[in-house]
Symmetry: C2
Subunit: 211 residues, 2 copies
């Protein structure tokens, strides 16, 4: 298996951390794609992933998965332990809910704020093969959405240990990477978000957070 990664970028980190939690960091070959040099826009990578994004996961027989959801599902089904997408039926569905929530309202909101304001991304307000101009108002809106997500994170974690319930899951990976990604916008968990801070410290202490 081959994992197309970019060490400083948040999206591939979602899969890198998942791989580490599965204990597969050594087993899977990593190919670094230099997003800063726009390597993903070049012909070579275009042939690997026409959506020009990492994470991308390639199996030994040449199948490729092109989104974090697809990569996660493949890794979970081929390496079920430890489960990161749930063990019981209820857990699986709760995790699906929580991953979606954290991605839509957290991760993608950070991306929205960043891509619509960064000087180096004038025509790259969305990832992918098509150029989209920045929309200044999305910078401010994205930040507001991130703040709302952090409030949700804190209130959810007042009642449960992890974002989708009693066990660490992919939803925690999505939410944790979101918090660190939000640092790029100089946004962070507020001082009084004690539940989210307790959870953040616990996830930060996991070896997978350091890969």
């Amino acid at each position: 298996m081959k994992f197309y990664d970019c060490a400083p970028a948040p999206s591939p980190r979602l899969v890198r951390m998942f791989i580490a939690e599965k204990g597969l960091s050594e087993a899977i070959e990593t190919v670094e794609v230099d997003l800063r040099e726009k390597e993903q826009m070049g012909e070579a990578f275009q042939a690997i992933n026409p959506f020009l994004t990492v994470p991308t996961l390639e199996t030994d027989d040449g199948m490729r998965f092109l989104t974090s959801n697809g990569c996660w599902r493949y890794l979970e089904e081929t390496h079920p332990e430890p489960a990161l997408l749930g063990t019981t039926i209820t857990e699986k569905a709760r995790i699906a809910d929580a991953v979606w929530r954290a991605e839509q309202e957290g991760f993608l909101a950070v991306g929205e704020a960043l891509r619509n304001t960064a000087k180096g991304m004038v025509d790259r307000a969305l990832t992918g093969p098509h150029n989209y101009a920045q929309i200044a108002e999305l910078g401010a809106r994205g930040k507001q959405r991130v703040e709302h997500f952090f409030e949700l994170l804190d209130s959810t974690l007042a009642d449960q240990v992890f974002f989708a319930g009693d066990h660490f899951s992919a939803a925690d990976i999505m939410a944790f990477v979101t918090v660190e990604f939000a640092g790029w916008l100089k946004l962070g968990l507020s001082e009084d978000a004690t539940h989210a801070r307790r959870w953040y410290d616990a996830v930060k202490a996991r070896p997978s957070a350091a890969v």
Copy 2:
């Protein structure tokens, strides 16, 4: 089980169609939520789903799933046949990829265009408990994204029968509901999108498309 639905709305249709494909339309009680009368904003529904959205699925022991992904996962795990989230490992991961693609680049792009231009949604540019003002440029951008998604749909379906491969899946539900939802914007598959049209006609002929 109880399914909170709204007959004219596209989001709950994702789950309604999934339920029909599973042959569960009679077995699951449907509760109609009148979005046109803003019933989802009222206290009663807020207690059911604090994100104020349908679809919402409630189990007999009171668990609730609040996103189409969560509802689908619960239904798939409790009623595996016919599989709509994949049978083999590869299928499961390809469907996860395709569902994500169709939702992000199709379904949510239609929603973006619509919610940022509709007169009745001035402060409701995003669903959920927080108000967000419309951003006029997102109306045009959303439409452009939908056109790009339709091109992707057609080119993908040139090589395969369904959007995620050889079998009908949840990815087809997401893409099909997107095409019909785009009609609200007066957007549709172009005349020369012959592959997407062949697929659309086949999905439209399924009984689940009529529920």
